[in-house]
């Protein structure tokens, strides 16, 4: 007899939680992906996924029903909006609400950080974060002095067309509040659909590496890596100043009952071990530890290649959470982190996009043989977004292979 949605959700949650808690689950959990394939599977566009809630719900439901992973990444499109979380960091009831820039929020703010389908780019293109430079090097002292004030009063009016003057800002923030309240109903409906399909509730908060705030939202990625050489003391002091507010923001989520916090990292791959250990990791570590102290486990997505920094993960307390890798060799990572950190990753999304079912079957078999023993592993795509023309039989092959070899 088929399992009820409730049973299925309970089973999936137990599986994921066992892995994060470094135990052996009933089988290796597999983390799902979303991306352009989700609208394409229903004949919709990326524009629909950003601006049409009914179509977003329909497309997500169809994809999640037909491709049952243990968790789903399909759904509402939102891009990183952490700079707004920093601007609202004094208010625990508001800062978590600013985490994502959705299509309607992009329109309301007129932000220059993102490009949305049907707006700046084609309806077929996915929404993209591009960042930018909204602060000059001689302004580091202001950032150090009071990061919230500097971001709210100086950076945001430059970064958002609709926040340029205080008068515009009044209207924009009211509109934003209305939009957040309005979209709550849709979020609830989306949650209900998840439950009906047997996907477990996964109360997730968010964190961010403090230096990434400077790279992604204030100075731009290329500039911040140059600043590290040109004004090292200032970059360090600014990162330190942001850290305090980042911790406050990450902890604000716990008031909503979250048990996990996801961190998407960006500059980790850019930095040599020396720079990483001086400018990036100590501050990221502080945020992870602050969450650990209140019992929240972090899931940190180490973007790109993280081999050069792997050992630093061992500086965290055992059982702190999960290290999610993109291009780092998960076999090597698992060996090093076994019994200390749950390891996530392992599937190149290009294999799903360009391989065959037989290749996928063999790949999953070989990989799981090496990483399954001892538990503490979650199979996940390196990048959780599949292209529109991903062969559907490949997605099924992945799910079946995990059933067989997990």
């Amino acid at each position: 007899m088929a399992k009820s949605a409730q049973e299925l959700a309970k089973e999936r949650l137990a599986r994921i939680e066992a892995a994060i808690n470094l135990q052996e689950p009933d089988r290796v959990p597999v983390w799902g992906f979303g991306g352009d394939i989700v609208p394409a599977y229903s004949g919709y566009t990326n524009y629909d996924m950003c601006y049409d809630e009914e179509k977003t719900l329909k497309a997500s439901e169809k994809f999640m029903r037909d491709f049952p992973f243990d968790s789903s990444m399909a759904g509402i499109t939102g891009l990183d909006g952490r700079v707004f979380c920093m601007a609202f960091a004094e208010y625990d009831d508001l800062s978590p609400l600013m985490t994502f820039i959705t299509g309607p929020i992009h329109d309301i703010l007129g932000d220059k950080y993102t490009r949305f389908p049907g707006r700046e780019i084609d309806k077929t293109a996915p929404a993209q974060f591009i960042g930018g430079t909204f602060m000059e090097p001689d302004e580091y002292d202001q950032l150090i002095e009071d990061p919230v004030k500097f971001i709210a009063e100086t950076v945001l009016p430059r970064a958002c067309r609709n926040l340029e003057t205080p008068r515009q800002a009044m209207a924009t923030w009211v509109r934003l509040g209305m939009e957040i309240a309005r979209s709550g109903a849709f979020m609830a409906e989306f949650g209900k659909m998840n439950a009906e399909l047997g996907y477990p509730p996964f109360p997730m908060g968010w964190g961010y590496a403090p230096l990434d705030i400077i790279g992604d939202f204030l100075r731009g990625v290329s500039n911040v890596v140059l600043d590290i050489r040109r004004y090292p003391d200032k970059v360090k002091k600014a990162t330190e100043a942001i850290t305090e507010w980042m911790i406050k923001y990450a902890l604000a989520y716990t008031k909503m009952g979250t048990k996990y916090a996801m961190f998407p990292l960006h500059l980790n791959e850019y930095l040599s071990p020396k720079l990483y250990n001086e400018f990036y990791w100590p501050y990221l570590k502080k945020v992870i530890l602050a969450l650990h102290e209140v019992g929240v486990k972090s899931i940190v997505f180490f973007e790109g290649r993280h081999e050069q920094h792997l050992e630093t993960i061992l500086e965290l307390p055992k059982g702190w959470g999960a290290a999610y890798f993109e291009k780092t060799d998960v076999v090597k990572a698992k060996k090093l982190l076994q019994g200390h950190t749950c390891v996530m990753g392992g599937i190149p999304i290009t294999l799903i996009a360009g391989g065959t079912p037989a290749e996928i079957d063999k790949f999953v078999k070989d990989l799981l043989e090496q990483v399954k023993p001892g538990g503490g592993f979650i199979l996940a795509p390196g990048v959780a977004a599949a292209p529109a023309d991903t062969p559907l039989e490949n997605i099924t092959a992945l799910i079946e292979a995990v059933e067989k070899y997990g």
């Binding site: 930095l271 040599s272 290009t350 977004a385």
Partner: protein, 209 residues
């Protein structure tokens, strides 16, 4: 001077290397020689990256130093005096608006002696074809960061082949590119970092080292 400048660039001494290069030119130094030293230094930075001694931040800073020195050096070099290894038409494919990978690669491949025609980001297939027909490059370089770019690369390669362009080699690059994507797209080579990309471009035009 040459050895000192070379070491300063490789060691990422931005201020020191720019100052030294300026002084050299102002005291009547040979701009062609200066260019050569800078190129060699960029080559070594690329090698260090491939060996895992340097990382993306060093590639960005290296490109920045090279660009700063070239700004006041190139006006002293006459057109045609420096021989090019080949011509590359370079762009980020349709539906992808990211430029950072493309720009890092561009700095290094130019330093290696290639002429680059940068056609921007979110470049539609037909624009790639048009630019390639106009510039007749030895190599077509396609960049992408997001996975949507994988589908666009495939379509762009198809469009180029359908237009009867067969003499230009195609290299694809970007963080999410690998052998699987190369096969899927039907490209000649792939690289997920700038240093490898430069090495492969040299191979594609038959230059050693």
């Amino acid at each position: 001077m040459q050895e000192e400048l070379f070491t300063k660039i490789v060691d990422m001494d931005e201020e020191g290397s720019i100052k030294l290069a300026k002084e050299y030119l102002e005291s009547g130094g040979n701009p062609q020689k200066l260019l050569e030293v800078c190129r060699n230094a960029m080559g070594v930075i690329g090698d260090k990256f491939e060996k895992g001694e340097y990382f993306l931040s060093e590639l960005i800073l290296g490109g920045e130093i090279f660009g700063s020195i070239m700004e006041f050096t190139l006006p002293h070099i006459k057109e045609g005096e420096s021989e090019k290894l080949g011509k590359i038409v370079l762009g980020t494919v349709k539906d992808d608006i990211h430029n950072i990978g493309k720009d890092i690669f561009k700095a290094f491949v130019e330093a290696a002696g290639f002429e680059v025609i940068d056609i921007g980001v979110d470049v539609p297939e037909e624009e790639f074809v048009k630019q390639v027909k106009e510039h007749k490059p030895d190599i077509i370089g396609m960049s992408c960061l997001i996975t949507a770019g994988i589908s666009s690369m495939k379509r762009t390669v198809e469009a180029i082949k359908a237009a009867g362009i067969t003499d230009a080699k195609i290299i694809i690059g970007g963080g999410r590119v690998d052998e699987e994507v190369r096969q899927l797209a039907g490209a000649d080579a792939w690289a997920d970092d700038a240093a490898k990309g430069v090495r492969l471009c040299k191979e594609l035009v038959g230059v050693k080292g």
